[in-house]
């Protein structure tokens, strides 16, 4: 049996690791780089480049280069995030047949899992080159606060990439596993995970080899991208002030500015002041215009204070749900590239009254944890055990636009709840069940996960049939639904329309239609 890899499929960067001779190791590419940009660029000849080469092309060929796909995966076309992305992204975002998001590249529409599959194929390639053998099995990570649709779509992406996805695990949980594995710890840890596009916080209790998540909370609309965006807005304003030129409606220049903003952010983690000086930034009718300004770390931190505060509101929530206080925590782990920003480090220290653990690499720790989980699933000598929870409540739609919760958030998974449905008319042949995720009891404020229809119900008076529907959240955090007629004990047929997930034939179609991935 081949080796199982762990893949951290990030918003901005991805990383792959594997347990080799009992030691979890990050797999580097041929140039020795530990992470690959999660960017795919479609070339005119129909092939695709992914990673560092693709990232360069965000500036050269922005319309055909897709980045931050993770911010869109598993979302509906009419969601806040998609609307925002449509304003920002130079690539074309279109609506698919079931209100899902598609990306249009030269007359072909790609579903989001197809885009993420390209990044995963790249990671598979990196792993195969490093290991010198074929890789077919993987554990893939996702943010703890991903909902059912987003998890399903991530799993689909893995399958399109030709990987057997042994497990989807939560990023903060993976990080805790990497941190505590094999150390025989007895402690409570908090994982503060600020990635490129998402923020998660999880509180775990480690008892030797068992890693129990007590509570988790998150914001899938908050990440390093938002910090870049603050710098971007600043530069747009500064440029407008000094030249009178407005670049907001110029997507290619905006793209240039976006990658510049990211570099300015990085530089501000090293220095307290960054001079920005780009001659001939825009070639206007009146000649070349220069972008010239200075941004201090202090000013940057002021611009981002509200974003930082948002992360702590999420932390408050996680502690409340765990019925714990900050004093109950033994260690704080910082995960995700965005935690390199000094403002995050100092704010975290102030909030927790504790210096975060400094011996973990925030970019690699998630992939390392995923590889350990992969090994413990396939190798009986690896002893670690992850006990995770579901991040949000699951409920069914009831009369008057309300949601009745069946599974509360932070319930340990796997878990199952049953509910008995009946008919409201004589000889009613089918019953429709809407499933929602979220904490609100109103349907309009919840995420609709899917629609299930009990069909072929035997003819009977209203209220007579008793159909027990079981809602099971599996170890991937994904919902499975089944139904049984309690009077006949027969399986009741059920048709499932889960938003965002792909049918078996769609996956094989996507596999067949996948563009050729270039090796660089």
């Amino acid at each position: 049996m081949g080796k199982v890899v762990g893949i951290d499929l990030g918003t901005s960067y991805s990383c792959v690791a594997c347990v080799i001779d009992g030691k979890a190791t990050v797999l580097k590419d041929s140039e020795g780089r530990h992470t690959q940009p999660s960017v795919a660029s479609f070339l005119p000849d129909g092939s695709v480049v992914v990673g560092h080469e693709a990232k360069k092309r965000t500036v050269i060929d922005p319309r055909n280069t897709v980045y931050s796909a993770k911010r869109l995966i598993g979302r509906k076309f009419f969601s806040e995030e998609v609307t925002k992305a449509k304003q920002h992204c130079a690539y074309e975002i279109v609506e698919g047949p079931n209100a899902e998001v598609k990306i249009k590249i030269r007359d072909r529409d790609y579903a989001l899992p197809e885009i993420s599959a390209l990044v995963l194929r790249k990671m598979k390639q990196v792993a195969e080159d490093a290991l010198g053998e074929e890789v077919t099995q993987a554990v893939i990570t996702c943010p703890a606060y991903f909902n059912d649709g987003q998890r399903q779509a991530t799993k689909d992406a893995g399958r399109i990439a030709g990987l057997e996805v042994l497990r989807i695990i939560n990023e903060p949980t993976a990080a805790a596993l990497a941190y505590g594995y094999g150390k025989g710890l007895q402690q409570r840890v908090v994982v503060y995970d600020l990635g490129g596009g998402t923020f998660d916080v999880s509180i775990l209790e480690i008892g030797n080899d068992v890693f129990e998540v007590i509570s988790t909370a998150g914001d899938t609309y908050l990440g390093g991208d938002d910090f870049d965006d603050r710098i971007l807005q600043f530069l747009v304003q500064e440029f407008h002030k000094s030249t009178g030129y407005d670049i907001k409606d110029d997507p290619e220049t905006m793209q240039k500015l976006k990658s510049l903003s990211e570099r300015v952010k990085w530089a501000l983690s090293e220095r307290t002041e960054v001079k920005i000086d780009v001659p001939n930034f825009v070639l206007s009718k009146n000649g070349p215009l220069h972008l010239q300004t200075v941004l201090t770390r202090n000013h940057f931190q002021q611009m981002c204070m509200d974003l930082v505060q948002r992360t702590f509101k999420v932390c408050d929530e996680a502690f409340q749900n765990a019925r714990l206080t900050i004093n109950d925590v033994d260690s704080v782990l910082l995960v995700g590239g965005s935690t390199r920003m000094p403002i995050i480090r100092t704010s975290v220290e102030k909030y927790f009254f504790k210096t975060p653990q400094s011996n973990i690499d925030p970019d690699e720790v998630v992939a390392v944890g995923a590889s350990i989980q992969g090994a413990s699933l396939t190798d009986t000598t690896q002893k670690s055990l992850l006990l995770d929870v579901t991040p949000m409540s699951l409920g069914i739609g009831t009369v008057g636009g309300l949601v009745k919760h069946l599974i509360e958030k932070n319930t340990p998974i796997p878990t199952e709840q049953t509910h008995i449905f009946t008919t409201t008319r004589d000889n009613q042949p089918s019953v429709r069940i809407m499933v929602y995720q979220g904490e609100s009891t109103r349907q309009t404020d919840s995420d609709q996960l899917g629609e299930f229809t009990l069909t072929g119900i035997r003819a009977a008076r209203q209220g007579e049939p008793k159909i027990q529907v079981s809602f099971q959240i599996d170890t991937d955090g994904i919902l499975n639904v089944s139904a049984k007629d309690l009077d006949t004990n027969q399986e009741q047929s059920i048709t499932i329309m889960a938003y965002g997930s792909m049918a078996e034939n769609e996956i094989s179609k996507a596999q067949a239609a996948a563009p050729e991935l270039q090796r660089q």
Binding site: L385, K404, T411, P412, P414
Partner: protein, 192 residues
């Protein structure tokens, strides 16, 4: 590592015995055990029964049995660690109805409590009667009947604003016309 037929049989037996056990028995601890013991036992049982321990090592049938056992282990843990629920659960399993109360369903219990509160909305006997019918109709998703019965209940107790709210809410959900005053009443109540 592979399992012998005897071991597989033991797992199957453990799964069938589940429905005769209370949560303390599931976690193999004494009734009233302290919180630390509940946790350590949960960890211990997880090491034995977590489905990951059986991942691709047993036939599908056995895997489903393991899932069933493990889900009960974590259910037991969820209930016993909840100080708000535990005393009630404990008194029930010590009582004469023990066999009916081996499991505790939070969603159902909360619904029961809510239903009890619902019935207490009305203060007079005739009001209670119609309110009860109205809630029954709501459960059956029969909005028209719920609206009518809330309206009748409200007419019995015309100063009961809770009933007025329920009646108007049903009317709105049932796409009935509302006067501007009614709209205002609803929105104020909902804000509060």
């Amino acid at each position: 590592m592979s399992y012998t037929p005897e071991q597989l049989q033991q797992i199957a037996k453990a799964a069938t015995l589940l429905d005769q056990m209370d949560y303390y028995q599931v976690l193999k601890i004494a009734v009233g055990a302290p919180a630390e013991e509940i946790k350590s036992s949960f960890f211990k049982q997880s090491r034995v029964w977590h489905p990951d321990r059986f991942f691709r090592r047993v036939p599908e049938e056995t895997y489903q049995q393991v899932m069933k056992i493990y889900m009960r282990v974590s259910e037991a843990y969820s209930i016993l660690r909840d100080d708000k629920v535990r005393p009630l659960y404990e008194s029930r399993i010590k009582g004469p109805e023990r066999a009916n109360h081996l499991r505790y369903d939070k969603a159902v219990e909360e619904a029961k409590q809510r239903a009890k509160k619902d019935e207490d909305v009305a203060k007079t006997e005739p009001g209670k009667k119609y309110a009860k019918m109205a809630f029954g109709a709501l459960n059956q998703k029969n909005l028209a009947s719920a609206e009518m019965n809330f309206k009748l209940a409200f007419s019995m107790e015309s100063d009961n604003l809770d009933l007025k709210y329920l009646y108007l809410k049903c009317r709105r959900d049932n796409k009935g016309k509302l006067t501007p005053e009614d709209e205002q009443f609803l929105s104020e109540r909902e804000k509060a």
